[in-house]
Symmetry: C2
Subunit: 345 residues, 2 copies
């Protein structure tokens, strides 16, 4: 599996190094953050984004915060650690991976007897979460590529490549892997308003991977689906409920309905860390409402009259019955998700 020439996140012992995704594709700027609050701010401002990458960044943020806790009792350490995890948990509510990472970090600390061991365990656990996410997308990409025939045109939404996953990519991972297997693959990439992760990040990653793509506005997907120009849709996920209902970037639900209406398979590609068995269905997934300025402005310039009220839900939920299959590192699962999901988590 081919490496990319960029590193979305890296642990530098006492700093977290991030590729600032808000400045792509124009500039490749790396940030070195020495405070967990800076990591939290970077997640909130989407300098790093994508559910698996948010999980990894959250884990490193906790490790960073923990390392800087001064010598204290175990109880005080746990209290300070709780403040740190709460700050990171308050950044973005939808992606499951962040909360999965926080739970694992807490457990790693709790299992150790003294604060020095706890610090070491937290750094190790963050690195483990990172390497597991890398491994997971590599594996799921291989499973997913088996679904992709030679000559396929894939529609995708938002960004699900190495930037979003720190690894090989989920939806884009499947596409990359199919191409590496020698298949001719074309991509239609939704620009993904409001923050243009498709135009800015997916286009940048596909260009680097040498995969031919055409950029479209989100509103054009129906046109191409209806004209038979798309063979399958593959998206990532931010959180998957126990019944298979999937929260993903706003607009995903519409694509799923349009895919079904036109007889086109609709796949979700996500590591198991995205699955949340504690939620029975998608209605229970918290949907982040972001700043309406993201809708009334574009790259800093206002698009609408002054005083315009806008809504900005960042995600929507695709009910499981629109999803042809969910591609994970433990295999491809299909309906009845509610029965099969528990087998793989």
């Amino acid at each position: 599996m081919k490496e990319t020439g960029y590193q979305p996140i890296e642990w530098l012992d006492n700093k977290v190094k991030l590729l600032d995704q808000t400045r792509l594709p124009r500039e490749e700027v790396y940030l070195e953050l020495g405070d967990y609050r800076e990591v939290a701010a970077a997640i909130k401002e989407m300098r790093i984004r994508g559910a698996p990458a948010i999980g990894v960044a959250g884990a490193y943020g906790i490790a960073l915060g923990a390392l800087k806790i001064e010598d204290t009792s175990r109880d005080n350490f746990m209290r300070e650690l709780k403040d740190i995890t709460q700050t990171l948990a308050a950044t973005r509510p939808t992606a499951r991976n962040l909360f999965m990472a926080i739970e694992r970090m807490q457990q790693a600390a709790e299992a150790r007897g003294d604060t020095a061991q706890m610090k070491k365990a937290l750094v190790n656990e963050a690195a483990r979460i990172h390497s597991e996410e890398i491994e997971a997308t590599g594996k799921l990409a291989r499973f997913g590529a088996g679904l992709i025939k030679d000559g396929t045109t894939v529609l995708t939404h938002c960004n699900t490549g190495p930037l979003a996953t720190t690894g090989y990519g989920t939806a884009i991972g499947v596409i990359r892997q199919a191409k590496e297997q020698g298949k001719q693959i074309k991509v239609l990439a939704d620009e993904t308003r409001p923050l243009l992760q498709g135009a800015r990040l997916t286009a940048w990653e596909l260009k680097q991977a040498g995969i031919p793509f055409t950029l479209i506005t989100d509103s054009m997907a129906g046109y191409f689906l209806n004209r038979g120009k798309i063979d399958c849709v593959i998206i990532g996920a931010d959180r998957i409920a126990a019944n298979g209902d999937t929260a993903n970037k706003i607009g995903s639900y519409g694509l799923a309905v349009l895919a079904m209406e036109n007889g086109v398979p609709f796949y979700v590609a996500a590591p198991v860390s995205t699955i949340d068995l504690s939620l029975a269905c998608g209605d229970e997934i918290p949907i982040e409402e972001r700043n309406p300025d993201e809708v009334t402005h574009l790259q800093g310039a206002s698009t609408a009259p002054e005083g315009t009220v806008a809504a900005n839900p960042a995600f929507d939920v695709t009910p499981h019955y629109y999803i042809t299959a969910i591609i994970t590192e433990k295999g491809i699962i299909k309906e009845p998700y509610i029965e099969r999901m528990r087998g793989i988590v």
Copy 2:
């Protein structure tokens, strides 16, 4: 019916005065065009847009060109007139109203014996097309408002107000009329990428009309439809085929599918001048493909990596079976459109 404080198009005897819609909402700039080629360029560049408004602008453009034909024989006049109409016909292929206007202008000229009469007839015919469009949207708005209950939230797409129609508005006309009847109406307005007619123009017109609205990205419509936040969808039309299939701004088809999937009525509001009985179905409607730079750029700034290939179909076709009713100035029609359409054109 309330007047607006702006005039999208005006005939000044030897000039056409246009409100430049590309500069709204930031600036209210009026252009005075003395050459038909400038009118053609203004249509192509979408300084004036919206199917009915394009028809009116095309008619005035022809009148302007005809007035400037120097003294010549009737045959030479008709030849020069043909060049003029061809220039205007070559601007934008999808809106039926432009071609309807061109046909009417040609017939008006042909019916006269000498070139002085022909010039006069052309100016009169353009003014007649303009006043008929104004009257049509006033009437259709009254028919349409009967479908809108008090307390309704309407989703609309693109811009269909006075700017787009030179009159009262089609979809926005229906909304304005319902409000003038004292009904509480809220609007969700799609921003309408790539050229943001929703964010720039619909928001500007609704603000002026005092109608409360919330701006959303095109990708959010499904989310709000699925959550029961939208009571009906109303859009305009660029061309309606004999079976009711409707070409409208890209993204309309997706809204229609999502409305049906969620049991929400989907209305098309359009004057009869938009209906094209010469086309059996929507497959025959020519779809304009515009410059891909409109997709890779936003308000002049690039959004994607250099060299990104983009597609830019400006319209899509909604099959008639997704359309709950078509609202025209001659009444509201429903399935079977193929039988009922001929009765009203």
